[in-house]
C-alpha cells in the first residue's frame, strides 16, 4: 500500500519535473539581445580546418580596417607563416614586418623596422591614448577575442553543443555584431552621442562605428581566377575566421592529434573489452 502510494507520488513528481524542464526558462527569453544564428565555418565541427585563403583575406581586413584601433598583442608576425594559419611565405612576412616601426629603447631613435619575431604593434601606446582617440571607449585587444565572446542557446539546445563540440560561438557573435548596426535605433531607445545602435551588443550602444561597408577592402583577384564578393558580409565572415585563428592558432594541429588519440582509444578499449570478456568467461 505504502509502496504504491510512494510510486504514484514519485511518478507524478518526475512527470512534473520533466514538464518543467522542457519550456525555456524566462531567463534566456528575458534578454533583449536577439538570438544569433550559427554560421557555417570551414573550421567548425570535428572535421573543420581553416581555409587558408579566407585567413589571408581576413588578415587583410584586420590590417586595413580593425588594426587602426584594435591591438593584437599576442600575435607575432612569424605566426602568419606558421602551418595551419594564413601561411604567408617567410619572405612575405619579413617584408610585411619591415613595413612597421617597432618601439625599441635599445636602438638609436627608439624605433626600428620590424622583424618576423616581433609582435603585432599596437595602434595606441596605452589605454588612455586609446580611449582618448575613441570617444572614451577602449577597443579590446584581439589576441583571444574570438574565445572571449560567444552566443547562447536556450535550455534544451545548448546540450547539443557538447555532442557537436560547438566552439564557434565567438566567430558567430563577431559576424553578427559586425553586421548588426542600425542607422536609426528602434523607437524608445536612446543612443548617446558618439555611440551607435547595434542589435547584438550588450546594452545596444556600441562605441565602434560600423566598420565594414561593401567594397571597402579590395580583395583583388583570387589565385584561381574566381573573385570573392567584396561585401560587408564577406568581410565580416573572413575577419571573424581570421580572429578565430589568432585566438586558436593550433586548432588544426589539435584536431589532427585528436583523431589519432581517438582511434587509439577506441582500438585499445576494444581490445581491452575482449581481454576482459575472455578473462571473465570462466570466472564464475
Amino acid at each position: 500500500m505504502i509502496m504504491k502510494t510512494t510510486k504514484t507520488l514519485f511518478g507524478a513528481l518526475a512527470l512534473g519535473l520533466a514538464m518543467m524542464m522542457s519550456p525555456v526558462s524566462a531567463a534566456e527569453s528575458g534578454h533583449s539581445v536577439p538570438e544569433i544564428t550559427k554560421q557555417s565555418w570551414t573550421f567548425g565541427g570535428v572535421f573543420g580546418t581553416f581555409d587558408r585563403m579566407q585567413l589571408q583575406r581576413g588578415f587583410q581586413v584586420f590590417k586595413e580596417v580593425c588594426a587602426s584601433c584594435h591591438s593584437a598583442n599576442l600575435l607575432a608576425f612569424r605566426n602568419l607563416a606558421e602551418p595551419g594559419g594564413p601561411e604567408f611565405t617567410e619572405g612575405q612576412v619579413k617584408a610585411l614586418a619591415a613595413e612597421y616601426q617597432i618601439a625599441d629603447a635599445g636602438v638609436e631613435g627608439g624605433a626600428r623596422a620590424g622583424v618576423a619575431a616581433d609582435r603585432w604593434p599596437a595602434p595606441f601606446a596605452n589605454e588612455q591614448e586609446a580611449r582618448a582617440a575613441n570617444g572614451g571607449a577602449m577597443p579590446p585587444d584581439f589576441s583571444v577575442i574570438a574565445k572571449a565572446r560567444t552566443t547562447t542557446q536556450p535550455f534544451p539546445w545548448w546540450i547539443l553543443n557538447y555532442v557537436t563540440a560547438y566552439s564557434e560561438g565567438g566567430p558567430d557573435y563577431m559576424h553578427a555584431l559586425l553586421l548588426g548596426y542600425e542607422e536609426t535605433p528602434p523607437e524608445g531607445v536612446e543612443i548617446p552621442d558618439g555611440k551607435y545602435y547595434n542589435h547584438y551588443f550588450p546594452g545596444h550602444a556600441i562605441g565602434m562605428p560600423p566598420p565594414l561597408s561593401d567594397g571597402a577592402v579590395d580583395y583583388g583577384d583570387a589565385e584561381n581566377g574566381s573573385t570573392v564578393p567584396e561585401t560587408a558580409d564577406q568581410y565580416a565572415r573572413d575577419v571573424s575566421a581570421f580572429l578565430m585563428w589568432v585566438a586558436e592558432p593550433h586548432l588544426v594541429a589539435r584536431k589532427e592529434a585528436g583523431f589519432g588519440v581517438m582511434l587509439f582509444l577506441f582500438l585499445f578499449a576494444g581490445v581491452m573489452y575482449l581481454v576482459k570478456r575472455r578473462l571473465w568467461a570462466n570466472a564464475h
Binding site: 514538464m19 524566462a26 566552439s167 565567438g170 592529434a257 581517438m262 581491452m272
Partner: protein, 424 residues
C-alpha cells in the same frame, strides 16, 4: 594492514634479502595483485580506479604547466596564453588539465552517488567514507584555487565572491578573509598564495587517497548486494580480474575526455575567462564552474533572515552544512541493509535526491531573477535545498525504521549464480 595471509614466496636470494628488510614486494602482491575482491562488482565500481588515474593526470599536467606559468597579476593571463601558443604541446597539456578538472569531478560525483546508493558508508566502512568526503572537500579547494590562476575575469570574480563567503562568519570572519586574500582585496598576494596552495593540496589529496585505500583494504570492498563476503567463492583476486576490467573502464572514460580536450577544449569553461581580470568591470553574470553549481545554488537559496542569523551567514551555514552533512551519513542512515537494490522505498527517495541534485546545479547556473516554470529561481532553490537536507536528516533516519527490505541473498555467489544475466 593485511586482512588475509600473504601467499608471497621470494623467488630469489635478492628478493629474500629484500623481503627481510623492506617487504615491498610482499606488500604489493598482497594488496595490488592478490587482494580478494567481490566478484559481483559492477561498472559503477570502476570509478575508484578512474579517479586514481585522474589524480595522476592532473598532477603530471599540473607540474608541467607550473614550469611555464607566472603567478603575477600582470603576467599570469599572458603566461597561460603563452603555454597555449608557444610551449610545445602546450595547447593540449593545458586543455588536459582544464578539462581534466571537470572529468575528475564528474567521476567523483559518480563515485559518491554510487556509495550513497549501495550504502558503502555503512559499518564497517565509516572511516573509508569520511576519508572520501575529506578528499572531496580538498578537491573542491584545489579546483577553486586552480581556477583563479589563469587570472581571467571569472577567475578574479570567483575568487572575490568565494573568499567573501568567509566574511560572514561572526568575529573571525574578517581576519580569515584577509588571511585568505593576503590583503583587503583579491590581488597579487591572493594569486601567489593560491598558486602555492594549488601546488600543495594535490599531494595532500594523494596522501589521503593512500589512507582511503588503506581503509578500503581492511574491510574490503562493498558490493552491489551489500552482503558481506562469506567465503573465497565470493571473491576473485584483484589482478588480473579487476585490473583488466578497470583498465577497460578507464579507456572508455578517456574517450569523452579526449573528445573535449581535442575538439572542444573551451566548451566546459566560461568565455569571460578569456578576458583578463579587471577589478573595475564586473561580469554581467558570475557563475562558478559546473561542479560547484549545486552547492552555489544552496548558498544563494538562503536569502532570508533566520531569527538573529542574517541571510548571508545563513547561506554560508547551509552551504557548509550541505558538504559537512556527508561526514555524518554513516550515522544518519539507520537501515541495516546496505544496498539500495533491496530497499523498495529508499530507491525512490534516492532517485529524487539525484534529480534534485541535478536541478540544484541547473538553478545554480540560472540568473537569480529568472523563472523556471512559473517558479522563481529563488523559490525553486529553496524547495530543492529543503529536499537536499530532508534526505539526510529525515528520509535516511526514518526509512530505516519504517521500511521492509526485500530478502537479501544468502551470499554473493548465490546472487551471481541466481542471475546469470547480471554476471558481467
Amino acid at each position: 594492514m593485511a586482512s588475509h595471509d600473504s601467499s608471497y614466496v621470494p623467488g630469489s636470494a635478492v628478493e629474500k634479502w629484500l623481503d627481510e628488510r623492506l617487504p615491498v614486494i610482499r606488500w604489493s602482491k598482497t594488496h595490488l595483485l592478490d587482494f580478494p575482491t567481490p566478484k559481483n562488482l559492477n561498472y559503477w565500481w570502476t570509478f575508484g580506479g578512474i579517479l586514481a588515474v585522474m589524480l595522476v593526470v592532473q598532477i603530471i599536467t599540473g607540474i608541467i604547466l607550473a614550469m611555464h606559468y607566472t603567478p603575477n597579476v600582470a603576467m599570469a593571463f599572458d603566461s597561460v596564453e603563452h603555454i597555449r601558443r608557444d610551449v610545445n604541446g602546450g595547447r593540449i597539456i593545458q586543455a588536459v588539465h582544464a578539462v581534466g578538472a571537470s572529468m575528475f569531478f564528474f567521476a567523483v560525483y559518480v563515485h559518491i552517488f554510487r556509495g550513497l546508493f549501495f550504502g558503502s558508508y555503512k559499518a564497517p566502512r565509516e572511516i573509508l567514507w569520511i576519508l572520501g568526503v575529506l578528499i572531496f572537500v580538498l578537491m573542491m579547494a584545489t579546483a577553486f584555487m586552480g581556477y583563479v590562476l589563469p587570472w581571467g575575469q571569472m577567475s578574479f570574480w570567483a575568487a572575490t565572491v568565494i573568499t567573501n563567503i568567509f566574511a560572514a562568519i561572526p568575529v573571525v570572519g574578517t581576519p580569515v578573509l584577509e588571511l585568505l586574500r593576503g590583503g583587503f582585496a583579491v590581488d597579487n598576494a591572493t594569486l601567489n598564495r593560491f598558486f602555492s596552495l594549488h601546488y600543495l593540496l594535490p599531494f595532500v589529496i594523494a596522501a589521503v587517497v593512500v589512507l582511503h585505500i588503506w581503509a578500503l583494504h581492511v574491510p574490503g570492498n562493498n558490493n552491489p548486494t551489500g552482503v558481506d563476503v562469506k567465503s573465497s567463492r565470493d571473491t576473485l583476486p584483484f589482478h588480473p580480474y579487476f585490473t583488466m576490467k578497470d583498465l577497460f573502464a578507464i579507456l572508455v572514460f578517456m574517450i569523452p575526455f579526449a573528445w573535449f580536450v581535442f575538439f572542444a577544449p573551451d566548451l566546459l569553461g566560461h568565455p569571460d575567462n578569456y578576458v583578463m581580470a579587471n577589478s573595475q568591470v564586473t561580469p554581467a553574470h558570475i557563475v562558478p564552474e559546473w561542479y560547484f553549481l549545486p552547492f552555489y545554488a544552496i548558498l544563494r537559496a538562503i536569502d532570508f533572515n533566520i531569527l538573529f542569523i542574517d541571510s548571508k551567514l545563513g547561506g554560508v551555514i547551509f552551504f557548509a552544512g550541505s558538504i559537512l552533512v556527508l561526514f555524518f551519513v554513516p550515522w544518519l542512515d539507520t537501515s541495516k541493509v546496505r544496498s539500495g537494490t533491496f530497499r523498495p522505498m529508499f530507491k525512490w527517495f534516492y532517485a529524487l535526491f539525484v534529480v534534485n541534485f541535478v536541478l540544484l546545479a541547473y538553478l545554480g547556473a540560472s540568473p537569480a531573477d529568472a523563472n523556471v516554470l512559473g517558479l522563481s529561481v529563488a523559490d525553486f532553490s529553496k524547495v530543492c535545498t529543503a529536499y537536499y537536507f530532508l534526505y539526510f536528516f529525515v528520509v535516511l533516519p526514518v526509512l530505516g525504521r519504517i521500511e521492509t527490505p526485500k530478502p537479501l541473498p544468502a551470499s554473493i555467489s548465490e546472487s551471481v549464480l541466481g542471475q546469470p544475466a547480471a554476471a558481467e
